[in-house]
Each structure stands twice: as C-alpha cells, then as structure tokens.
C-alpha cells in the first residue's frame, strides 16, 4: 500500500493523499486555459468539514469506474510513493461510518497526510450533501 503512487493535495490546511489511479487530470485554473467539464463538482472541504474561505486554484478530475467527478484544491504537490513514510492505520476508537473515506495516514516525519479513498468518498452519504450544482457560486 505504501509504495502505490499518490497525488498529495492541500485543502484548508490539511494534506491529503489520493491514489493516482483515481486521478484523471489536474488543472491549474489560474493558467487561463479552457477547462472542460468533468462530471459533478464536489466541495471536498465541505465533505471533510474543514471549510475555509479560499480560491482553490487547482481542480482535480477523478474517475472511479465509469463515474467522473472533480474537486478543487488549494495546492497540489508532487506524486509521491511514500516508500519512506510510516503508514498509520486510522484509530479504531475514532472510526465511524462518516469518516470511512479516510483510510489512514502517511507520516513523513513532519505531518500526517490523510490517505483518502475516492470510491469511499463517492459511496458516502456526505457525497450527495457536498455537491456544487452547476453554476452554484462557491461559498
């Protein structure tokens, strides 16, 4: 699990890692190039309850099976394999249905990077509640 490549992105001060196999494309929205639609947009900060006012200049397109959705991030980092990071399980004491999408953490000596699962995000009840409808202004 630790050797699998992950996209690390930052959102509202948190660092998250998403299996690169779920990532279809990353867009720099500040670049001024046309960004085609990619399914429904999820407010991932709202999903994780870490909402914070931000422009979120990156969009990450996600593909799970035949379903496409996307979310915005404050920053994206290099693709990482986490070969040298410590892989930590999510504490069983804190596990609930609501946080099932956080599989665990990578600890690189400086920070906890929350390892999230795109399929679990999509199957969660929070997914529908965190959608941004087309044309809906960002909070």
């Amino acid at each position: 699990m630790a050797e699998q490549a992950h996209l690390v992105f930052r959102l509202a001060g948190y660092s998250f890692a998403l299996d690169i196999r779920s990532v279809a494309k990353i867009h720099d929205l500040a670049a001024g190039t046309e960004v085609p639609a990619w399914g429904e947009e999820l407010d991932l900060a709202r999903y994780f309850g870490v909402e914070e006012e931000s422009r979120r200049p990156f969009r990450v397109d996600v593909s799970v099976g035949d379903q496409a959705w996307c979310f915005r991030a404050d920053a994206v980092e290099d693709i990482q394999g986490f070969g040298l990071a410590v892989v930590l399980a999510f504490p069983p004491m804190l596990r609930t249905e609501e946080n099932r999408a956080i599989q665990g953490f990578f600890f690189d000596g400086l920070r906890f990077i929350h390892q999230v699962d795109a399929a679990a995000i999509m199957s969660s009840a929070r997914f529908g509640a965190s959608h941004l409808r087309d044309g809906e202004p960002r909070a």
């Binding site: 948190y14 930590l88 004491m93 609930t96 956080i102």
Partner: protein, 157 residues
C-alpha cells in the same frame, strides 16, 4: 457497616494513582492505565471525528487519538487563557482495548489510595460525567477520571 462496605469497595480499587494537574485542578487516574508520558508532541488535526478529539499524534508507529483539553476544562468549569496554549505533557492511557492520549500541565505525584482523603458521601459527577469529585489530596480537591464515560464521549456518545 458502611465503613466495611467502603473498605470492601476500596479493596477492589487500584492501589496507585497518577495525580496530575490541569490549571489549578488536580486529577487522578489509575497508574496501571498509564503507558507512557511524553512532552511536546506534535498533534495533527483529523477531520470527521468528534470535537472531543484534538487530533492524533505519532506514537509507537500508530496514530494516537488525543483528547481535547477542553473536555476536562469544560467539566471543571475552567477556561484556559488563549495565551497559555495547550498543555505540553501527554499521557498515553490504555483504555477500551486501545490507547488514548490526554494532555495536562504537570505531574503532581504518584500516590497510594490511603494518602487520599476520600469522600464519605457518593462522588458527584461533574458536568458531562468525565470527572468525579473523588476526595482531597494535599488540601486540594481531587477529581478522578471516569474512563468509561470518556470513551463514550470519544466514540460520539
């Protein structure tokens, strides 16, 4: 008769307690539950968990959940001044088949049960039930951690 019942109850209780301080309050926890005490650990926030949890710390190749100091401060009616920051000492407690970290300001002492002036009347639970007023130690009120209730609170109760 009441005294005999009380002695019987005491016989089933732990012998040694870690007495520690949060602000001006003295709290006690069964020493056998204390796995380790550390200082100045980084604690990382975790989304989608109860606000009773401050975050998680890296400990023995695990993500150790750390209880928010606000849980005890609310129970004690204390409010920590913003400038004071959070307590720097971290005790790792074994509870419920897992481990939970609690933050505190300083160790008072390890004491034996007979050193504590236990209350004769039933111990009142403080607000939220995570602490009970247990007795007095060195002329200070001593509160005992209610670990079962703390666990319930952590699990969302």
């Amino acid at each position: 008769m009441a005294n005999l019942e009380r002695k019987g109850a005491l016989a089933a209780e732990p012998d040694s307690w870690l007495v520690f301080a949060i602000g001006s309050a003295s709290l006690a926890v069964d020493l056998i539950r204390v796995v380790e005490i550390q200082e100045g650990r980084d604690i990382f926030p975790v989304p989608l968990v109860t606000p009773k949890i401050l975050g998680a710390a890296y400990w023995r190749d695990q993500a150790l959940p750390v209880l928010s100091p606000a849980v005890f401060e609310e129970a004690l009616g204390q409010v920590r001044p913003q400038v004071a920051g959070r307590p720097e000492l971290l005790a790792v407690l074994e509870m419920g088949g897992g481990w939970l970290g609690i933050l505190f300001d300083r160790i008072v002492r390890v004491v034996r049960t007979e050193e504590i002036e236990l209350r004769e009347e039933p111990n009142p639970l403080l607000q939220s039930g995570v602490l009970e007023l247990w007795g007095r130690y060195r002329d200070h009120a001593l509160y005992r951690l209610n670990l079962e209730r703390i666990l319930e609170r952590v699990r969302g109760g």
